[in-house]
């Protein structure tokens, strides 16, 4: 028996399952559980539906949200964020344009923050000839603590068909990882 236990383990077996298969199996299980829990806690896969973020994000595209992005920070202007629309699975994907404490209004398509026009380099001209942004108008709103004003990048569509407004911090799930 002692002769058998002293037999060297073939290198390919060490590479594949380690010196002690049982220990390797336990390590593998722990690693898998940690990866799974870490992934669930920090990342949420999403599939874009609808046209409100076009042309930046198109219907059917798959992306990931970083759920830890706002654990120790607050959303910044220009961030693309996921907002709980119906529970934790149905999210809105919007861009932050107004921050807490600011006054915001939209005049003929131009966003004014505390009276100053906002530069929006992410707005791309659409191919159908309609200007982006179109001549939308929104009366002035005062953003309270925790309120972020969010809107889609496709502002060539009809204003009435575009869902936008103030989102409370407690409904913000995370920031888009690969903008």
């Amino acid at each position: 028996m002692s002769q058998l236990s002293d037999t060297p383990i073939p290198w390919w077996q060490v590479m594949a399952i380690g010196r002690n298969p049982r220990t390797t199996l336990v390590r593998l299980a722990i690693t898998l559980v940690l990866v799974f829990v870490g992934f669930r806690m920090s990342i949420q896969p999403i599939r874009v539906q609808g046209i409100s973020m076009q042309p930046t994000y198109r219907d059917g595209q798959r992306r990931f949200l970083n759920k830890l992005a706002y654990r120790f920070a607050t959303p910044q202007r220009g961030d693309v964020i996921g907002i709980q629309e119906a529970g934790k699975q149905v999210l809105l994907l919007k861009r932050v344009i107004g921050l807490p404490g600011e006054r915001l209004r939209i005049v003929q398509g131009t966003v004014l923050i505390n009276g100053e026009p906002l530069e929006e380099p992410y707005l791309q001209p659409p191919t159908n000839g309609v200007p982006n942004p179109a001549r939308w108008n929104v009366a002035e709103v005062q953003l309270q603590d925790g309120d972020h004003y969010v809107i889609g990048d496709n502002r060539s569509m009809r204003q009435d068909d575009h869902y936008f407004g103030m989102a409370n911090q407690n409904r913000i799930v995370g920031r888009l990882m690969n903008p």
Partner: protein, 166 residues
């Protein structure tokens, strides 16, 4: 039987009795969930509308879940907006809805909060599958419950808005 064994046996029996009680007597949360499921079942259908008698039975079942002064405020962006108040109005609207737009309703993410002796609040995500490829819609609702003579009733339903304009 040794004293140690007897004590262990008594401990196990007490634990089993507590489990049995918990099983037999539902908690207030479970009672509320039951009312939600009952209300859902009365307006949910798999594809085809209910006929006369079945519809009557369903509306009777719905009546058992709502207070007489129930209020329903629906505001789903781009789809539906309106208020209903009173049992009769809600029952008529529910009957019309189940006939015209039959669909399988699923409730998920039920969270019960502010549980008081005679009132409670719940948030729930309701999704309806009408069978068409784009027929799946989910909406979050906030519900208020009132307890009357030992039974929970839905007194108010309102859609939860992800974004506010004001």
């Amino acid at each position: 039987m040794s004293p140690l064994r007897r004590k262990t046996l008594i401990g196990v029996l007490i634990a089993l009795a507590v489990c049995a009680l918990w099983w037999v007597i539902p908690s207030e949360e479970e009672r509320i969930r039951h009312v939600l499921e009952q209300a859902k079942a009365s307006v949910s259908s798999e594809g085809k509308p209910a006929d006369g008698l079945a519809l009557l039975a369903r509306m009777g079942q719905l009546t058992q879940c709502l207070t007489r002064d129930v209020e329903i405020q629906v505001d789903v962006f781009g789809h539906l907006s309106g208020n209903l108040s009173g049992l009769d109005e809600v029952r008529a609207a529910a009957a019309g809805m189940t006939q015209q737009f039959p669909g399988l309703i699923r409730l998920s993410e039920i969270q019960i909060s502010e549980l008081m002796p005679t009132s409670a609040k719940a948030t729930v995500v309701a999704s309806i599958n009408t069978g068409s490829p784009h027929g799946q819609n989910a909406q979050e609702f906030e519900l208020r419950f009132r307890k009357w003579e030992g039974r929970w009733y839905i007194s108010k339903v309102a859609t939860v808005q992800a974004l506010r304009t004001r």
